[in-house]
Symmetry: C2
């Protein structure tokens, strides 16, 4: 019998090549252990609400009212909802034609796209055109659509930082392109050294690859660094000289845990640079409601903004977006609320501000607890999480541990993370899922566990790690375990 | 200067090849006219709430409570929400880990997938495995994922009914496969004649195409027919003999407007047929909350169920689904509510039943008004809409009208639909967007305008059409207009 069309042997090879570590072997093993009754601390995905972060009250009130518009006519509505939430729900409903149950325009509701354009203008100091802003079911879907537009064949290369968020490697595989890695400098606090990028480009070109785009993740995932203004400038200049699209993943722009290096958007720097660069470099920037102090991952609200794309290309992107009709409308409302939160003087302002600040302050404290905790462990070194939601410590594995991993048929970091999971219930992602230099090992964990649990988690990690190191540094073969 | 990576010239060619008529030239022109202040009746997309259909109350109450879980602890909650909605919100929240703001498993919440499996079992009489049910952001996203898994290159063919829903042609273009059309028989009430399918397969194979899958849309879009049991049996036998995956688009399964031909799922027929066929044919079935009497398009809730796929393939599909993390969670709750609505005895049962019945009864009446209206027009013939949401009348254009279209640089049906739009504000989709036999012309309209508006809309259509026919039958050249 020949294989059937959906048998593994006959699937699209690009589908098989996709690797997605965040929900890979470690996650699957953690899910198994959870089913068996073990308590698992899921730090594999940046999913704040799953680790106890409460949603901000005001946006949830507004979206609840949008879902149940008949409440707006109920005389008791004011007993459960503040007046500004009621007004805001009416505001967003008036932007729809038929409420949350109607498809919107495939680019998203025009009213929300206007609010986003105003937010960008306030943030960057330059006007933004709502016609160049498209809403998506989470930022990932936008990244996927852009890569699908750029990649023509396996000789089209996309520059991706390593360590990288595996969305990029997975999507480039899925659409049959070539990932061209450039290494971030761990010793330089995960900074981007343009010489590394140039070397990568030269090697790729020598192998017949046409470099089409460069991805930056700022603040970094999994590495947590914030790119400096000088760094962004040289990146944009490089994109200009080399004729590359810049894909700026800026989904963590609200997650900043230090004051020295604030978030600056790639778009602001581009426009600051003036012509010809500001008129020439094609830039697509991504943002979401899943991160920040919102953490509304499950709502799947995202957008991308295009700069210096021709109207004809924008039409093509619109056309492809229209094949899946429209992004989910409740997620669009969340985006509107994120870019246009309650203002001083609004009834809900104080509560909203207090809730947001509490989340962000606690994340900042957790970033410190985690970095310090890792750095107190034997053979572990960790850069401080300047931004984003992750800690990415380097684990210096003794040769005997690497040998034991080989015998177990696992990559050394996978071996370590599996042992950590079995011993402590902490579910991390091995560094190999993000890419790392040969012979150097990491793991990624989110900084999201509840603050009061953090000391115990770090103590449990330290106990496991230090025993592991002790064991493998004194290792004399299996008989001694 | 060489073109930039996102200039039109250098985009992925497959992106450029995508055509999507439902939001194509007619829709864009209608949007322009609307901006200019003209009243437009949008019948181009099956988007019931945009045309005034009210959402069902109970599911909206439940989802509103899930969005605002703090209301569940408010002593006043019972003033605005019935007890069974409160109970159901708690039920769904208990299935999540962190409420609607947390990513779910990439396949969807296990609890919802169980409820869907139970629904399928009740519907078909055979157990269904929740591990083979994946939730998606609307059914379109599921169709796109399956086609991406099946299509390897441009010699992989997908059998698609013509007229067809352009999601299929667009997605096959986007992923670089070959659409192999099989014509439905307008004279046989848009029935599927397997001889046509066999002829298409033979021709495609002679051209070096490997046929991998067959799409059926039941009830039909845009054609509205319901496939009979006998028809489904011969299709499944054909797929078995020819080693094809069957993709069964069953999103209109609740939209049935006659009693002679009820909806029967492809899965039920497959399992009725017994081994070896029931164990061998690979089937993927799609469903959604966007259609039926729900019409919750903007929520983007859909699922697909896989039958006879190997665990290894299911793992691959899971892996790719995990790249975009999770479908939106509110849409998942709507799916749970759709497959598990209030039961007799529940507080909300009577209201829910009355609302559902009112929508469905009205759609049935509108299907009749529309078909009868079209058939009363000069040179228009129209099959009755047995199911789904569309009417697809044939417009017999006089040779002079075809000539005038050619002079205007338009396809004849586009020419007709544009004139209709300008004259009446009725925004339809030309038949060429769905495919039609050479020299035969159609348009698609939804049956969704409000029932009370229907007589006026059909009168306005008739007036336009009959004058148009009059004009072009007596046409003597431009000077006479």
């Amino acid at each position: 019998m020949p294989p059937k069309p959906l048998d593994y042997e006959s699937l699209n090879e690009n589908v098989k090549k996709v690797a997605y570590a965040v929900r890979g072997e470690l996650y699957l093993r953690a899910s198994e252990l959870q089913k068996e009754g073990k308590k698992i601390i899921f730090t594999n995905v940046g999913n704040p609400h799953a680790l106890g972060q409460k949603p901000l009250t005001f946006p949830r009130q507004v979206v609840a009212l949008c879902q149940a518009p008949f409440l707006l006519e109920d005389p008791n509505v004011a007993l459960l909802f503040p007046a500004d939430a009621i007004a805001r729900a009416k505001h967003y409903l008036s932007m729809t034609s038929g409420g949350l149950g109607a498809y919107s325009d495939s680019r998203g509701l025009p009213g929300i796209r206007n609010e986003i354009a105003e937010f960008i203008k306030r943030r960057d100091g330059y006007p933004s055109d709502p016609e160049l802003i498209f809403l998506t079911d989470g930022a990932s879907k936008g990244v996927m659509q852009m890569l699908n537009s750029i990649i023509r064949n396996d000789r089209d290369g996309i520059l991706v930082p390593v360590p990288q968020y595996p969305l990029y490697s997975a999507t480039i595989s899925l659409y049959g392109g070539s990932l061209v890695p450039y290494y971030l400098e761990e010793e330089e606090n995960w900074g981007l050294d343009l010489d590394n990028v140039k070397k990568s480009v030269a090697t790729a070109r020598a192998n017949g690859i046409t470099i089409r785009a460069m991805v930056i993740i700022n603040p970094g995932n999994p590495t947590g660094q914030c790119l400096s203004e000088a760094n962004l400038k040289e990146i944009l200049l490089f994109c200009y000289r080399e004729n590359l699209v810049l894909l700026a993943d800026e989904v963590y722009q609200q997650n900043i845990y230090q004051d020295e290096r604030p978030f600056i958007s790639a778009r602001k720097i581009l426009l600051d640079m003036g012509p010809p660069i500001s008129k020439e470099v094609q830039l697509v920037s991504f943002h979401t409601v899943s991160k920040g102090y919102w953490g509304e991952c499950g709502q799947r609200g995202g957008y991308f903004e295009m700069t210096n794309l021709s109207p004809q290309t924008v039409d093509e992107i619109y056309k492809v977006a229209s094949v899946s009709l429209s992004p989910n409308v409740p997620g669009q409302i969340f985006l509107g609320l994120m870019v246009n939160p309650p203002k001083p003087g609004d009834i809900s302002y104080l509560k909203y501000s207090a809730e947001s600040k509490a989340v962000l302050d606690s994340l900042r404290r957790r970033a410190h607890i985690m970095t310090d905790g890792f750095n107190s462990c034997k053979n572990v070194v960790c850069n401080f999480t300047e931004g984003a939601m992750y800690s990415f410590p380097q684990i210096r594995l003794p040769p005997k541990a690497i040998e034991a991993a080989k015998k177990a048929g696992k990559a050394p970091d996978v071996f370590y993370c599996l042992k950590l999971l079995e011993a402590t219930g902490i579910s991390t992602v091995p560094g190999s899922g993000f890419g790392q230099k040969d012979g150097v090992f990491h793991l990624r964990t989110t900084i999201l566990p509840a603050e009061q649990d953090m000391p115990a988690i770090m103590a449990s990690f330290k106990k496991f790690n230090d025993e592991f190191m002790e064991q493998y540094e004194n290792y004399r073969g299996f008989s001694r375990i």
